[in-house]
């Protein structure tokens, strides 16, 4: 018996290659995971929510003030000036604003990467188990990339809503009826679009590294028993 099996030792290429899981299936699996882990996901998203809320608040407030300055109503100009708005030159504030926005976005990027790396560390055993079941590295990359991106997009939308609402409330409180009368619909929509793109892009970019890091986890880690 032993003799026979050693002479008939098969060669490796007889074994098929494991099939790849399509993106659509990976998406379904990740979406279900994000939904069930919602509270945890919200914590992960907090950085994105805040950064995008800040960005959209700044942009929308800028749009509203610009529209009111442009309206050039003498009563309103007085209110604007007492609120500290320079009605003659709105330009020199922009460098400061850009710096703040850039900083908040950078924090957001680092925040997502950090939160995802923590999520991967927490789930080393889960990744190992999936590999024992036949998951390829590519599936792990896909699912963590999708998960992180989904959270980023949800966080971005949430941040947009918060930023817009706060900007509206602050503007209405400061300038009252002038706001609806001179509301710059087009430029506000443009700002929201920019913030959405920025948040999504950032989330997707920040998801790449943790996804590859997750896929590098070994299946032996599934066997390890803690304590």
């Amino acid at each position: 018996m032993q003799q026979k099996s050693s002479t008939s030792l098969a060669v490796g290429h007889d074994i098929p290659e494991q099939v790849r899981i399509p993106w659509s299936t990976a998406f379904m699996i990740s979406l279900a995971g994000v939904r069930r882990r919602l509270l945890r996901s919200l914590v992960t998203m907090a950085g994105v929510v805040l950064a995008i809320a800040f960005l959209s608040y700044m942009l929308v407030t800028g749009n509203i003030t610009a529209a009111l300055v442009e309206a050039n109503i003498s009563d309103l100009n007085v209110i604007l000036q007492s609120a500290g708005v320079d009605i003659h030159a709105a330009d020199h504030r922009d460098t400061m604003l850009l710096l703040l926005i850039g900083l908040s976005l950078f924090t957001c990027l680092v925040g997502i990467i950090n939160a995802m790396l923590m999520a991967v560390t927490e789930r080393i055993k889960e990744i190992g188990t999936l590999k024992c079941l036949g998951a390829l590295d590519s599936f792990i990359v896909k699912s963590y990339f999708i998960e992180s991106s989904l959270q980023g997009v949800f966080g971005t939308v949430l941040g947009l809503v918060i930023g817009l609402l706060v900007a509206l409330i602050v503007a209405l409180y400061g300038y009252g009826r002038y706001v609806p009368a001179h509301f710059p619909v087009a430029s506000v929509l443009m700002s929201l679009g920019k913030s959405f793109l920025m948040g999504t892009l950032l989330s997707v970019v920040a998801s790449i590294a943790p996804a590859y890091w997750a896929a590098k986890k070994e299946p032996v880690d599934a066997m390890r028993v803690e304590e």
Binding site: L9, K131, L136, M223
Partner: protein
Amino acid sequence: MSETIIRVRDVKKIYRMGAEDVYALRGITVDIKKGEYVSIMGPSGSGKSTLFNMIGGLDTPTEGDVSIEGYRLSELTPRQLAWVRCHKIGFIFQSFNLIPTMTALENVAIARIFYGLTPAQARRDAAKTLERVGLGERIHHLPSEVSGGQQQRIAIARALVNEPDIILADEPTGNLDLHTGEEIINLIGEMKANFGITVITATHDMKMLSASDSVVWINDGAIERIAKKGEIEIEIGSIDGSTLA
């Protein structure tokens, strides 16, 4: 005469821990026959899990090699190795290792998805397999919502759903009480009897040996002896001072 399904040849595993070398396996050679129920017996730290990792292709030996159905694991590409794990082997873990955010059904279905089926087909097969291990009604519960014994049943369904040739169970009853542990061992024994699956379990509990066709005793990374079915009861008798029925 049944054929050899797993060949382990002079497998050594050395872990480098700083300046010191830890010899987890010191040259293990063993053949396991198709349809056999083998228990790997040994104290904690004796190298059982390390040996399992080698057989399951989860880790590579420092020296020696393992082949399954004549295929040397060391010669396979990562994608072929994943195929072997998915199609040939069912893993059962001490701490169940279910995905906490997936229901019982989804936990089993995911193995079937890796096999290459669509999610709908996978769910259908998963439901059938869960039925077979006695979890028909709780398929939509999360692992945290069922008992430890039931969690291990879900894990067994997951290990069986792809109809593997081999079940690798590393201390499958380690986190269960005695009675539930016996139920799980009986369930694994049934699967072996009904489907001719080769079962390899690691344990340090004597009471888990009754279902075995043979017992491999390992200590400090080396095989002490291999006992066949007839010899096991005598073995237990001489250690326990009483004979198991």
